[in-house]
C-alpha cells in the first residue's frame, strides 16, 4: 500500500508512448495504429524510433478499428490509439461487430479520456467511454491511476489474448504506485485504510480521492480508498467487503454518473449488500472547454466535491 506523499507528477501518455515503443521492439506481433493524433497520444515515439511497427491509418477511426480486426486475424497484435471520445463513439459498431464479438486480440487505447482534455471541450471529452465499453461482451475495461499502473496494465494487455480497452488521461498526474506494484485483472487495490466510509475510485480520480481522504482525516473522518483499475471484470468481492467493513460507499470517477464505475458498484451493492452509497461523477449535462481546475469544480468532481459527498453519505449511515 502506498499513499500520496510524493509530489512527483507523470503523464500517462508519455509512459504509454515509451511502453508501446518497448513492446514494439520486444514483441514481433505488436503494431501501433494511429488515427493521425500521434503527437498528442505519443504513439509518435514508435514512428520515430521503430518506424516499421507504426501504421498510419489516417483520420478515419471506423476503418482503423476494422483494419485492426483484420490484422489480428493474421496473428498480429494491433494497438489502436486515438482520443477516447472517437474510439468509444465514432467506431463503436466496428469494435463490437469485428473485435468484441469475435474476441480478437486488439488493444484499444483511449487517450484524453474524461474531462481534462487540454481546453478542447465537449467534442473531445470522453465521459461515456466506460459505460459504452463495459456493455460489450468479451471486453476488458481498464483505467489506470498513474504512469506506473499504465505501464503494468499495458504489459498485462500484451500477454492477455482478447480485446482490451485502456482509458488514459492527457495531463501529468501525481504518482500513486511504487515500481513494485503488481496489476491483476479483476482485482481492486486498497490504497488507503479507513473505518468510516470507503471511496471507490478509478483512473485519474483515485489521486483526487486520496487527497480528499487526507482532507477528511484532518476533520476526524477515516475514509478508505479502494482503487478499481479493472472496471470489467469488476472485483465484486472487494466491493461487498468494503460495504461490510465501512457501511457506506462513495464512488468517484472522471466520467458520467451514468453507466460508469458508480453504476457498476451500485449494481453489485443493490444485489449483494445494500449500504448507503453516493456517486461523484459528471451529472447529466454537457461539458465545455476550460482550465482543468475550473472544470473539476464546475462539473463537481474536485477533491472538495469528493469530500463533501463523503460527509453526505455518512449522514445516511
Amino acid at each position: 500500500m502506498t499513499s500520496l506523499k510524493t509530489v512527483e507528477k507523470v503523464a500517462m501518455r508519455d509512459v504509454f508512448g515509451e511502453t508501446l515503443l518497448k513492446l514494439s521492439f520486444d514483441d514481433p506481433r505488436v503494431f501501433a495504429l494511429d488515427g493521425d493524433l500521434a503527437t498528442s497520444t505519443k504513439v509518435d515515439r514508435i514512428a520515430e524510433k521503430n518506424a516499421p511497427k507504426f501504421l498510419q491509418m489516417g483520420i478515419a477511426e471506423q476503418n482503423m478499428m476494422s483494419v485492426a480486426a483484420g490484422l489480428a486475424t493474421t496473428g498480429l497484435q494491433p494497438w489502436a490509439t486515438t482520443f477516447a471520445a472517437f474510439l468509444s463513439k465514432r467506431s463503436i459498431d466496428q469494435i463490437q461487430v469485428q473485435i468484441a464479438q469475435p474476441n480478437l486480440d486488439v488493444k484499444m487505447v483511449g487517450a484524453y479520456s474524461g474531462l481534462l482534455t487540454g481546453l478542447t471541450g465537449k467534442t473531445h471529452q470522453a465521459l461515456e467511454d466506460i459505460a459504452i465499453f463495459r456493455s460489450l461482451a468479451n471486453m476488458v475495461v481498464l483505467a489506470p491511476a498513474d504512469g506506473v499502473e499504465t505501464r503494468k496494465m499495458m504489459e498485462f494487455a500484451n500477454n492477455h489474448y482478447g480485446p482490451v480497452y485502456i482509458r488514459l488521461a492527457r495531463d501529468p498526474l501525481p504518482v500513486v504506485f511504487s515500481e513494485d506494484y503488481k496489476f491483476e485483472l479483476g482485482k481492486a487495490i486498497k490504497v488507503r485504510e479507513g473505518k468510516d466510509v470507503t471511496i471507490i475510485s478509478t483512473g485519474t480520480q483515485t489521486g483526487r480521492s486520496l487527497e480528499a481522504a487526507e482532507q477528511l482525516a484532518e476533520e476526524g473522518i477515516e475514509a478508505a480508498v479502494l482503487h478499481m483499475p479493472s472496471i470489467k471484470p469488476l472485483d465484486k468481492e472487494a466491493i461487498i467487503k468494503a460495504a461490510d467493513e465501512t457501511g457506506a460507499i462513495v464512488t468517484s470517477e472522471e466520467h458520467s454518473i451514468y453507466g460508469g464505475l458508480g453504476s457498476a458498484v451500485a449494481e453489485v451493492l443493490v444485489e449483494e449488500n445494500p449500504v448507503p452509497m453516493l456517486r461523484v461523477g459528471v451529472k447529466d449535462r454537457n461539458s465545455e472547454s476550460g482550465p482543468n481546475e475550473a472544470l473539476l469544480q464546475k462539473y463537481e468532481i474536485s477533491i472538495d466535491h469528493i469530500a463533501a459527498r463523503v460527509k453526505e453519505v455518512l449522514k445516511k449511515k
Partner: protein
C-alpha cells in the same frame, strides 16, 4: 478457350446452378432470408471457392490459406451454400439456417462457422477488415491473397472509401475486392432509369480515382471472372477492384431486377417455378 478452361467453366456453371437451387430451398425452408443479392453473387463465389482460392476445408484456419470476407454479410446464405458444397460443413446443416443454436447465423460469424474468415453484417466494415488481413499478410511476409465482396448499395457507406484510401496507400496488390454491382438495394432511390436503381454511376471512375486497378466484367460469365482474377495477379503496387456487373435475383425471371425480392421468401409455388427455371438456365 482451351479445352481445360472449357471443362472448368462447365463444371463451375453446374455448381452455380446447384448453388442457386440450394439458396432458394434454404430460404424457403427457413421462411426468412435474402434472395436477390445472394443470387447475383453466386457465380463469383463459386469461381472463388471452386477455382481461384488456395484453401483447404480440412484446415480452415491454415495460416497460408487465401482469405475471403463477405462484406455484404446479408448475402450470407450464398456463402453458406458454397462453403457447404466445398466441404466445410455438411450440406444438410443448411436446414438449420436462422434456427436457434445454428452455426449458420443470419450474418456470418467467424467464431462458430468454419470457413468464415471475418464476421460481417454491419455494412462497410468487411472491406476494412480485408484491408487489415491483406496488410497483415504483407507485414508477416506471407503470400496468401485476400478477396472481399462488397455491394454497390453498401458503397454508400463512407467506411468503404476510408478502406479504399488506406489499401491504396499501403499498395495492397494482394487484395482483390469484388463489387457485386447488381444496381439495386433494399428499397433504393425513386426516379432513376430502371426501377429504383442505385445511382452509383461509374464506379469504375471512383475506384480509379482512389488509385485502384479496375477490372469491369460480366459477373455471370465464369470465364470472364476467372480471367479477371488472373489479371489481378499480374498487377503490382496497387489493389484491384473487380466491378462485377450482375443482375439481382439472377436465374429466376420473376426475381430478376426487382428490388422487392431483396429479402422476400418464395412460397411453395414460386419455389417450384424458380427451381424449374434455374435448372433450365434462363
Amino acid at each position: 478457350m482451351s479445352l481445360l478452361l472449357q471443362e472448368k467453366v462447365k463444371m463451375l456453371n453446374r455448381r452455380a446452378t446447384e448453388t442457386r437451387k440450394l439458396i432458394l430451398e434454404t430460404i424457403h425452408h427457413a421462411g426468412a432470408g435474402h434472395v436477390g443479392g445472394p443470387l447475383s453473387a453466386v457465380d463469383v463465389l463459386v469461381s472463388l471457392y471452386f477455382e481461384e482460392m488456395n484453401i483447404n476445408p480440412e484446415d480452415p484456419r491454415g495460416v497460408d490459406r487465401d482469405r475471403f470476407v463477405l462484406s455484404k454479410g446479408h448475402s450470407a446464405i450464398a456463402l453458406y451454400t458454397v462453403l457447404a458444397q466445398r466441404g466445410y460443413f455438411p450440406i444438410d446443416e443448411l436446414k438449420t439456417f436462422d434456427e436457434i443454436d445454428s452455426r449458420l447465423q443470419g450474418h456470418p460469424d467467424m467464431k462458430i462457422l468454419p470457413g468464415v474468415d471475418m464476421s460481417t453484417g454491419s455494412l462497410g466494415q468487411g472491406i476494412s477488415a480485408a484491408v487489415g488481413i491483406a496488410l497483415g499478410g504483407k507485414l508477416c511476409k506471407k503470400t496468401f491473397r485476400t478477396y472481399c465482396m462488397i455491394g454497390d448499395g453498401e458503397s454508400q457507406e463512407g467506411q468503404v472509401w476510408e478502406a479504399a484510401d488506406v489499401a491504396s496507400k499501403y499498395q495492397l496488390d494482394n487484395l482483390v475486392v469484388i463489387m457485386d454491382h447488381n444496381k439495386l438495394q433494399q428499397y433504393g432511390w425513386a426516379g432513376t432509369v430502371t426501377e429504383r436503381e442505385n445511382p452509383a454511376f461509374s464506379p469504375e471512375k471512383r475506384w480509379e480515382a482512389f488509385g485502384w486497378n479496375v477490372i469491369s466484367l460480366d459477373g455471370h460469365d465464369i470465364e470472364q471472372i476467372i480471367k479477371g482474377f488472373e489479371e489481378a495477379k499480374q498487377i503490382k503496387g496497387k489493389p484491384t477492384i473487380i466491378i462485377s456487373n450482375t443482375i439481382k435475383g439472377k436465374g429466376v425471371s420473376f426475381m430478376e431486377n426487382s428490388y422487392s425480392w431483396h429479402a422476400r421468401v418464395p412460397n411453395d409455388k414460386e419455389l417450384e417455378a424458380a427451381i424449374k427455371e434455374i435448372e433450365m438456365g434462363v
